[in-house]
Symmetry: C2
Subunit: 218 residues, 2 copies
């Protein structure tokens, strides 16, 4: 724990549980990288992220200046956030969200060679499990056009709330409802591309994804 991972607000919701961080990273699809621009002003970049052991992977085009800045080892902060529900109190003040939120600090490294190709497969599998077995491997041109970044999971903090709201005695005795409304996210029916050749069925990766219980996609 460092000065910047120390939670100062609502400390009781803070967690140093690495397994909980791993679950959050597995549940989210997108993270937000913070950067400073040339003038030192903050910039936030959303991008797909995927956990890979003790690092978080992201990828993007070599044509993206922000990806290049991250690849060059710029200091960054990655925020990953999952929204799990509305925590409805008897008052607006005590109402809240059910959420899980982590920030990771550090510098990315750009991957190369075998590690880069394997990391791209990890990203593909995170978004659509089983997909890599259904498609050809990336070719040299594609690998060259892609930056693959790894942020080490070293300096991080995690905050989560999944409890019940707490109203004061006056409000407890009042007429207002309180409870939780879960948010559920899942996948709808796949739509084939207009240029799909006839006879090509929806692949197992997509079928499995759509059949999964709701609440798994974010």
């Amino acid at each position: 724990m460092t000065e910047r991972t120390q939670i100062t607000r609502l400390r009781e919701y803070g967690s140093t549980d690495r397994a909980a961080l791993d679950r959050l990273l597995a549940d989210v699809r997108v993270g937000h990288f913070g950067l400073a621009d040339d003038a030192g002003r903050p910039v936030v970049i959303p991008t797909a992220v995927a956990p890979d052991g003790d690092r978080v992977l992201a990828h993007g085009s070599t044509g993206s200046r922000w990806m290049r800045q991250l690849a060059a080892g710029a200091e960054t902060c990655l925020a990953v956030t999952a929204l799990d529900g509305l925590a409805v109190a008897r008052t607006a003040f005590e109402s809240s969200l059910h959420y899980r939120s982590a920030v990771l600090f550090g510098r990315c490294t750009a991957l190369a060679g075998e590690d880069k190709a394997a990391a791209l497969d990890v990203i593909t599998e995170a978004l659509l499990p089983g997909r890599t077995a259904e498609i050809r491997p990336a070719n040299r041109r594609e690998l060259q056009a892609t930056l693959v970044l790894a942020l080490p999971i070293t300096e991080w903090s995690l905050k989560a709330f999944d409890g019940w709201t707490e109203d004061g005695d006056d409000d407890l005795a009042g007429p207002a409802w309180a409870g939780v409304v879960p948010m559920v996210t899942g996948y709808g029916s796949p739509r084939p591309a207009p240029d799909l050749r006839t006879g090509i069925e929806v692949p197992p990766s997509v079928t499995r994804l759509v059949r999964r219980d709701p609440g798994q996609a974010r």
Copy 2:
């Protein structure tokens, strides 16, 4: 448009359509504010956001140092991102996400008085439409403990992809599937708080929210 709202990558997906920005802001629940810490290092803070005309509202505790830094007018970048589906190509390289993503640059102001109280109602209504009519107004203690921030919608950019992926001729002729898998988010059955007094029914605000078509909550 400024230097930093100019889209350099995949320009064809950029948009200056203010109505599209407003739809995105109405669809998201959470945004990510970028800040620089005392040492100039990037920090990203997730928080609930709500559109309010030509500004975006956020709120938090006076006990949060990041909220105080935003309230003090620190330069910031707010990213709001909606994930609408998986765009599955015949190759990993051409695969993508259906997304809508905006960044807004500027400085927040801290609201006070009537404007502050009204803005809190806007935030409550954005999360749970109709709720303000079901609960008492915020009291003085609650208002004093809350920072309400407004970021003007002046310098922003928007990028979205909702199309079909484009594979090369060799891959088009191959055996792999391509299409889109929509992501759908909605609300599950409300769970009453354990300390809810008997006889208090689920209120209209929650009933309406849960009955809404999926794809509305993010």
